[in-house]
């Protein structure tokens, strides 16, 4: 997707540039006054080239991924370098001169920062700081060691006469070369190690080292370079001292690369907390895309640059010597440092780790850019150095990159294991941290845990307060975070598996307090919590206040959402800011219709439920009216029974939950056929009669018309007998009115809808608590009222419902109802996946608040 978008982006640019390129030949002599075609290449050159590079890079990546076999064996970086070589060869053959070099300026200013920022941002910070000691040691000491030993050894090699005398370089030149060739390159390391999947500690050490040692390398390079430019004869002893001072100062003030890394590392927490979920995804993918593009372009340019033979001069002794020395000293350095580090480390690095670390020391574009930057007049051996660097980079990236995967496999390096976080782990990990911090206090040793504890407290007290939104700060707790991610995951797996998961993960806890709405509470909590995350706009969640009110609100919305979802389609504005939501809605609708179809097939007997839900989405069909009629008939049946109005709440809930369940496993194409008609066939006479009535908006027909015969559902499903038909009653009211309203532009008249809806209701025998219902119809459209009237309107679920029922029902029905209640509750929450429900709700909230 991203690639496609990129290439799309590139196309207009390319088009703009290409158009003029074709034209200039055709007009022989352009009319003097009006110049139709102009050669505008210079105006578009830069963006055109950039776009072209990105386009080629994207294409290359796509092509590489066409063949899984190749990419699984060969790292992408190798392929890109090879591609660059080929492209460079073509350019060289066509233009007779090498073009498009990897310019150091471009590299350091444009290509490197995205990669470094990306890696800093996605760096597992805990792991990074846990291993900070080792990383810093390898980065600073290791790099210095590599630079000096390699430089000195090469100089020794030259003294021994193994390097051709035409390489004019002194000790300082070699030290300079050693400093630039010594740095392990983050881009190369990342590109290779991301595909290798070694264990986290190993990865973070190698990668962290490669990120941090750039700072050391660049500084060292600058120092050496200034020495070289002064000329070795002019360097006094005091200058070395100055150099050391400069080195220290530069390291203290840190390099830009390090700064960007730290920026990414530091800002992640606060950035993520402050922006919405959607923006978080955007940030994530933008960064990844930029980094990926930059990386691709770097490797390709590396390949292309290597073709330019005018820039480099070959000396076998130097090249071979360098290769051997960097490998050897890297390994030696790693072994020595690890030995020292292992004296202090809790978990020592074993031999295999050391092998991988030594072997993973890939050199890359940083070294190349630095060597290109050398001044030829000051460093006469520059061409040789360039050639050597290219060979070293190619060797490490291609040979080592190719072989490291088999090596890791062969050595049986501990791979990284991915296990899903569990709440227990998260909680206990925190406990352990606290315990360790406390024990360090007791022992009186202010170690790592002590300082981390300190930092966390500081962060909590000041930084987070300062940098995070209030609400985000509240939500931002790690345990909480895991909890909520778990919920999302459950929801997803619930949806995937067709809704049989949640019941097994046991939302019904024996340990849960026996409130009168145990199950319902847990469901709504789940809904609410996962809602807070899956919601597109966090602000929306903030409008929902805490406690039971919120639950009630959610429950209420749940009910209403089931009833009015499809209608919202008409309200959706065409603003381009809401695109995704519209799509979501359409999806909802499709799913919904499928569900209805399915439901009809499987629950043919439970007509009334289907009827009410089915009839909503398609207001213009005639079949709908018939259905209404049936629904109405059933409704009047219900009235005959004289059940409390509020029972419906619970029933509607179950209906909704069934939908949810079916939504989960429905994935076929939409088929909006008249299931309603099929279903209606069983009660034709009533339908015909009622159809007219409902069509004329006489919403509530008199009970006389319909013979109060129980439906199949009532016979077969005991729990439907008392409540199902009532559900129909309510729903039939709404369905009947909605379509008519819609046709007349119902948008403005929710209140008129109420007025239409209520009269028939009032005629019903027992309607003690009418207000909740009309409110219910109103809520989804006006969710902003939500906080204002929390309890009074939505408090009807089971607890109240039970009360109403017991009031109205005969005593004989009572035990049955009480039996049903747990069943209903259980059903509710087993069926209601937080995720599915959430998606609806978010949309509703947003829509409401924007309207």
């Amino acid at each position: 997707m991203l690639r496609a978008a990129l290439s799309l982006l590139a196309l207009p640019l390319a088009g703009a540039a290409e158009e003029p390129t074709q034209k200039p030949e055709s007009p022989g002599e352009p009319p003097p006054g009006l110049e139709l075609f102009r050669w505008q290449w210079h105006e578009v050159e830069a963006p055109y080239l950039v776009a072209l590079w990105i386009l080629v890079a994207s294409l290359a990546k796509i092509v590489f991924h066409l063949s899984r076999k190749v990419t699984s064996l060969v790292p992408e970086s190798c392929l890109l370098i090879l591609l660059g070589l080929v492209l460079g060869g073509i350019v060289l053959a066509v233009a007779k001169k090498a073009e498009y070099q990897l310019e150091p300026g471009t590299f350091f200013l444009f290509l490197l920062p995205p990669i470094v920022l990306d890696s800093g941002y996605f760096m597992p910070s805990r792991l990074f700081f846990d291993n900070l000691g080792a990383i810093l040691t390898y980065a600073v000491v290791g790099t210095l060691w590599n630079a000096f030993t390699t430089g000195a050894a090469l100089w020794g090699l030259q003294q021994a006469g193994l390097v051709a005398p035409r390489v004019q370089a002194g000790l300082l030149d070699f030290l300079l070369f050693g400093s630039l060739i010594s740095a392990v390159d983050p881009v190369a390391v990342l590109a290779v190690f991301e595909e290798v999947h070694v264990n986290e500690t190993l990865f973070i050490i190698v990668f962290g080292e490669s990120l941090l040692n750039d700072a050391v390398t660049v500084v060292l390079y600058k120092v050496c370079n200034s020495f070289v430019e002064m000329g070795s004869a002019n360097v006094q002893a005091t200058d070395y001292l100055k150099g050391v001072a400069y080195l220290t100062a530069e390291m203290a003030s840190l390099s830009a690369i390090l700064a960007v890394t730290m920026c990414g590392l530091g800002c992640k927490k606060y950035v993520e907390a402050n922006i919405s979920h959607k923006s978080r995804t955007t940030v994530k993918y933008t960064m990844k895309t930029l980094a990926s593009c930059a990386e691709t372009v770097i490797f390709m340019l590396l390949g292309i640059s290597a073709v330019d033979s005018s820039k480099w001069a070959w000396d076998s002794g130097l090249v071979l010597g360098t290769l051997i020395f960097i490998l050897f000293f890297r390994a030696l350095g790693v072994v020595l440092q690890t030995w020292v580090l292992n004296q202090f480390r809790l978990v020592p690095l074993d031999k295999i780790d050391q092998v991988v670390m030594s072997y993973g020391g890939l050199r890359g574009a940083v070294a190349f850019a630095l060597v290109i930057l050398l001044d030829r007049t000051k460093v006469p051996a520059k061409d040789y150095f360039v050639a050597t660097t290219i060979v070293v980079v190619f060797f490490t990236v291609i040979v080592q990159g190719l072989t490291i995967k088999p090596l890791v496999k062969w050595l049986k390096v501990k791979r990284s294991e991915h296990h899903k976080p569990t709440l227990n782990q998260e909680l206990h990990e925190h406990t352990f941290d606290h315990i360790l911090a406390a024990v360090e206090d007791v022992v009186g040793h202010h170690g790592y845990h002590y300082w981390r504890d300190r930092w966390e407290q500081f962060d909590k007290k000041y930084l987070s307060q300062l940098l995070m939104r209030r609400s985000a700060y509240r939500i931002r707790d790690q345990i909480w975070d895991v909890y909520y991610r778990l919920n999302i995951r459950d929801a997803i797996s619930f949806v995937d598996q067709g809704g049989h998961v949640l019941s097994s993960t046991g939302l019904t806890l024996p340990s849960m307090p026996s409130r009168n709405s145990v199950a319902e509470t847990s469901v709504t909590n789940l809904l609410r919590e996962s809602g807070s995350g899956a919601c597109l706009d966090l602000q929306v969640i903030d409008t929902v206040r805490s406690g039971r009110d919120r639950e009630d609100a959610v429950m209420h919305h749940l009910l209403c959402g089931g009833l009015y979802k499809p209608r919202r389609r008409y309200k959706a504005s065409c603003s381009r800011h809401f695109i995704s939501e519209d799509a979501q809605e359409r999806q909802d609708k499709e799913v919904f219709q499928q569900n209805m179809k399915r439901r009809l097939e499987s629950f043919k007997s439970t007509k009334h439920n289907i009827c009410f839900t089915k009839s909503k989405p398609r207001p213009r069909k005639t079949g709908r009216r018939k259905k209404d009629g049936v629904a109405n008939a059933e409704a009047t049946n219900g009235k005959h029974r004289g059940l409390g109005f509020q029972d419906t709440a619970a029933v509607i809930l179950t209906v909704e939950s069934e939908e949810e369940e079916e939504e989960s496993d429905s994935s076929e194409t939409e088929k909006e056929d008249d299931e309603g008609i099929i279903f209606v066939a069983r009660a034709t006479s009533e339908v015909l009669q009622e159809g007219k009535v409902s069509g004329s908006l006489e919403v509530c027909p008199s009970p006389r018309i319909i013979p109060p015969s129980p439906t199949c559902a009532e016979k077969e499903l005991p729990w439907k007998s008392g409540q199902g038909d009532l559900a129909v009653y309510v729903s039939s009211e709404t369905t009947k009115i909605v379509p008519v309203d819609m046709q007349t532009g119902w948008n403005q008249s929710i209140s008129s809808l109420e007025s239409l809806a209520s009269p028939p209701c009032n005629q019903a025998p027992i309607l003690t608590c009418l207000p909740p219902h009309p409110r219910g119809t109103e809520e989804p459209q006006v969710p902003l009222h939500l906080p204002s009237d929390p309890r009074s309107s939505f408090a009807f679920p089971p607890s109240l419902a039970k009360a109403g029922r017991s009031r109205s029902e005969s005593s004989a029905d009572l035990p049955q109802q009480q039996e049903l209640q747990p069943l209903m509750g259980h059903k509710d929450h087993t069926h209601l996946s937080p995720g599915t429900a959430t998606s609806h709700w978010c949309i509703q909230f947003n829509r409401g608040s924007r309207l």
Binding site: N424, H430, V443, H445, I479, L526
Partner: protein, 195 residues
């Protein structure tokens, strides 16, 4: 200070403590030094007050419980008891696992004992189970005020239910161990200086 530590070389029962806890002589000396520093009135034992004096412990959410864990019985803890608790956090070394003598009791710093130490911080009533209520209490300590009580209850429910295998609504030690079986407890419950 230097004279003090040389003086402290005579730790009562030093050898037996070392055998039991596995601490090196140096660590034991260091701990003894610390012990006496904490013991303000030179009474030869520590009381809860002594530990509560440690400033940073006061802000530790689990501070009270950890202090409590030093006093399994009674109001005072002597040096061997003090060291015994701390021995849980000695890093696991190779020789510990190699010289595992079936007759000898498990070393205090074994994975099991480390976990058990954490477990008993949760299990306030010492019935061998972390009930939902106990879990909730810990959560309340750890999560802080930003999360509402209701949400905490949900998390507690979820946590218990996640680990609870036999369905008794509480987390037994076995279940506790199992829920952490993927975690590197030996590493996470060790302090490097306590060798």
């Amino acid at each position: 200070m230097g004279s003090r530590s040389s003086h402290a070389a005579v730790i009562p029962d030093g050898d037996s403590i070392r055998r039991e806890t596995g601490f090196s002589q140096a660590s034991l000396l260091r701990l003894h030094h610390r012990f006496r520093a904490l013991d303000r009135n030179k009474k030869g034992y520590l009381s809860r007050m002594d530990l509560q004096q440690i400033g940073a412990l006061a802000v530790n959410p689990l501070g009270d419980r950890i202090i409590e864990s030093f006093f399994p019985d009674g109001q005072r803890v002597d040096f061997p008891g003090f060291v015994r608790v701390l021995a849980h956090f000695r890093p696991v070394e190779d020789e510990d696992t190699e010289t595992q003598d079936p007759k000898k009791p498990e070393p205090l710093n074994s994975r099991r004992n480390k976990l058990h130490y954490a477990f008993q911080l949760y299990d306030l009533d010492r019935d061998g189970k972390i009930s939902r209520h106990e879990m909730l209490q810990v959560l309340r300590l750890m999560v802080g005020v930003q999360v509402t009580e209701e949400q905490l209850e949900n998390i507690a429910d979820r946590t218990v239910q996640e680990a609870d295998e036999d369905g008794d609504g509480a987390v037994s030690f076995v279940e506790f161990t199992k829920s952490l079986e993927k975690m590197d407890v030996e590493q996470k419950m060790s302090i490097r200086i306590l060798k």
